[in-house]
Subunit: 239 residues, 4 copies
């Protein structure tokens, strides 16, 4: 019961936990949560059914663990990735690709499952776990928010945008697009499609050199014109 005798099994334990997690992740992605039995998870992981429940009290706990793991990876990759870019548009494009790649890839449509079970099915997430997942989700989307806000600060992005709406368009658009890609089995061409979706979004939020005059510009112009006319009038009267 000392550290040494424990460390070996401990390692094996963690290995086994990872095996189960991986097994569940694969099966949930392939078959969906409901169609994946704990028996299949155990078999696919090479352990007994009982062992699965030694590591995860319930099947739901296992789902939450799978989702958490995915968020952790998604978040980590996102954070380390944006640090390599300085221009906002590059960062956004990177986040988009990372999102699609992490969501699709060998995990297939797992992320979809997250939202489904999060929001609709079975009220699985009615309790404490919900909070945990929301935190994970919030932490992840916060990165996007940060990129946008920094873009505003750097005057690459307009300061009058509705961040919440932009965020919804970004993630919603990407996931919808991903679905489109998957149905057409064109997952190979991610970059192109991702940039197709990001482009209009970027177009609507960036500060365009000669585009951004906005209403006050018009007012100013009107003002100028009015003043010019009034001055002209005066001059004419004088003369």
């Amino acid at each position: 019961m000392n550290n040494i005798t424990k460390s070996a099994p401990r390692y094996r334990v963690e290995q086994k936990e990872q095996d189960i997690l991986k097994s569940a992740s694969e099966l949930f992605a392939e078959l969906g949560f409901n169609a994946t039995s704990t028996k299949k998870i155990a078999q696919n992981a090479g352990v007994s059914e009982g062992t699965v429940f030694n590591y995860f009290a319930t099947k739901n706990d296992l789902l939450i663990a799978v989702i958490s793991e995915m968020y952790a990876k998604l978040t980590e990759d996102a954070e380390s990735g944006i640090s390599k870019y300085s221009h906002t548009i590059e960062r956004i494009q990177f986040l988009a690709e990372n999102h699609v790649r992490g969501t699709a890839g060998n995990k297939a449509l797992l992320l979809r499952l997250i939202y489904v079970y999060m929001n609709t099915d079975l009220h699985i997430f009615e309790h404490l776990e919900t909070t945990a997942l929301y935190k994970l989700n919030h932490e992840y989307t916060k990165i996007f928010d940060g990129v946008i806000l920094e873009g505003v600060r750097h005057q690459e992005i307009r300061d009058d945008i509705n961040l919440s709406a932009i965020r919804d368009l970004f993630f919603g658009g990407l996931e919808y697009a991903m679905r489109t890609l998957m149905l057409k089995n064109k997952m190979g061409n991610i970059e192109k499609y991702v940039s197709d979706v990001v482009e209009p979004l970027w177009d609507s939020i960036q500060i365009k050199l000669s585009q951004s005059e906005g209403p006050e510009f018009k007012d100013k112009l009107d003002d100028v014109l009015k003043r010019l006319e009034s001055v002209t009038d005066k001059l004419n009267q004088r003369d």
Copy 2:
């Protein structure tokens, strides 16, 4: 044996079918497909379990019927609605509101389920039915495409847009936004949020009246300012 005596049972039959459809629709939305037992559907509809299967051969058939019905209503409302508007932005805003209202409302998150099961879970829609659902979906989204393309023809929308990407942003953004709204229980304020999402999208695809002026506009303005200053100077010198 005349029309009247026959119409009575006929009516009741159709009524019962509607009851079951409504019951299933509500429960699928509230609990999810898997967590909704046929027993619950029967009870909620006020019929026996056997009766459910007299109208719908399997639970899947019932799901498909629910989805079809929703698409039918969505499509019909969309088509009749856009005919009342002539400006493209109004049409888009209408389609967005219609989509959210039809998708949410008492149907709650059902539409989400559609896509989820369509794409991920259990391969429920692996067979012929899939085709039917795709047709319904295609018919529905075609309306959006039509509005956009007509906007292009009327020179309200740029002709260099990527329709597929715009479509994904539109539907994906709206659904993601809807989720946000639901989680915050702010479904009352649909119009505001919908327009928040539609705005950036519209901003990126519309042809801006005073936007395209480019450098010669700036020159003109500079010219005006110069003249204004020169005039002012002259006046000042006079006084």
Copy 3:
């Protein structure tokens, strides 16, 4: 309510009853009793499910009616058939063929069902009906018994046979043979196979005219007789 007004519908009624009987007969033969639903019977007969139960109170009653009908035909054909033959072996061969033809044919393996349900399944025949069916069966097998006994009386068949055992061999052998034929899809060649089965049976019960004469025996006897005659001739010549 008089005879005339009744006769037309009465006829139709009987027609409908026959349709249901025929439908059930076909389906029981093809699918088995349990796998045949009353709904299928109704559809196959071109009537509504309710109508089936107007004519036959339960599904079991219908089974009994089907069986009775088959026995009736079997018995009738057997009786009228044997009257055309006078030799016992011909009569037996006829009865055998009639049995196989009536049991198999488009009724497929229905007769098997009879015995199954009669003896094993569900105790379907525990009550009064049993008696009725036994009577039918008894009436039918009595014909075979009669042929055998008459054969005995005509000194075509030994008088020390065990009729009960012969009867079991006859019907059991035929049905087992029929099964063999059906499994090999050789139902076309009924006559040959039937005579193959009947022959050993006949061989064991018939009275052989000069029972002992194998061919070589006859030759020997002829030889003896010839020699005897030649000796006699010689003797006569001497004297």
Copy 4:
């Protein structure tokens, strides 16, 4: 972890499988396959319904296991039994008794079910399993064939018999006879009835030493020959 601690649960496992098999065997025999619910089987075996399905994937698998077990016993007993007899008629009589005893007994009419379901009901045996059952059946009936063929070789049985027909008469006759016995509740007197059925069959296939010539006939013939020879001798002597 040693053999002993492991053997205990192993033993219990096999015991439970046997319990379920026995339970199913009894109930199939008593009620028939269709009328025996898996719930009843479980209760009768003293296990939960789920446990039944832990050992046998489907109810059909269970049926097949029951039948296989019966064939195994039947075949084993038959093989070991015939080795104790050298005369063909004794072997046949033994096979017959073994068949009836193994088929009837506490298994009641199970064997009948085999053939019934094999051939008629529900097409239960349409797939691979059929093959397995046919093999078992073939293996079993091969023993009978072997006994007959050896009888032919030993010149106890005629070499011009139709084996297939004899086999059908043997098994068909026995089973039909068994039914007769059961209906009359005379199962106690198996030996007598079995020999009643076997006798005519044997009578038709055996080689009769001097085929049926009553002794006095032979004597008479010998007498004639002797006298003939004596006369001939006398005549020769004269010449």
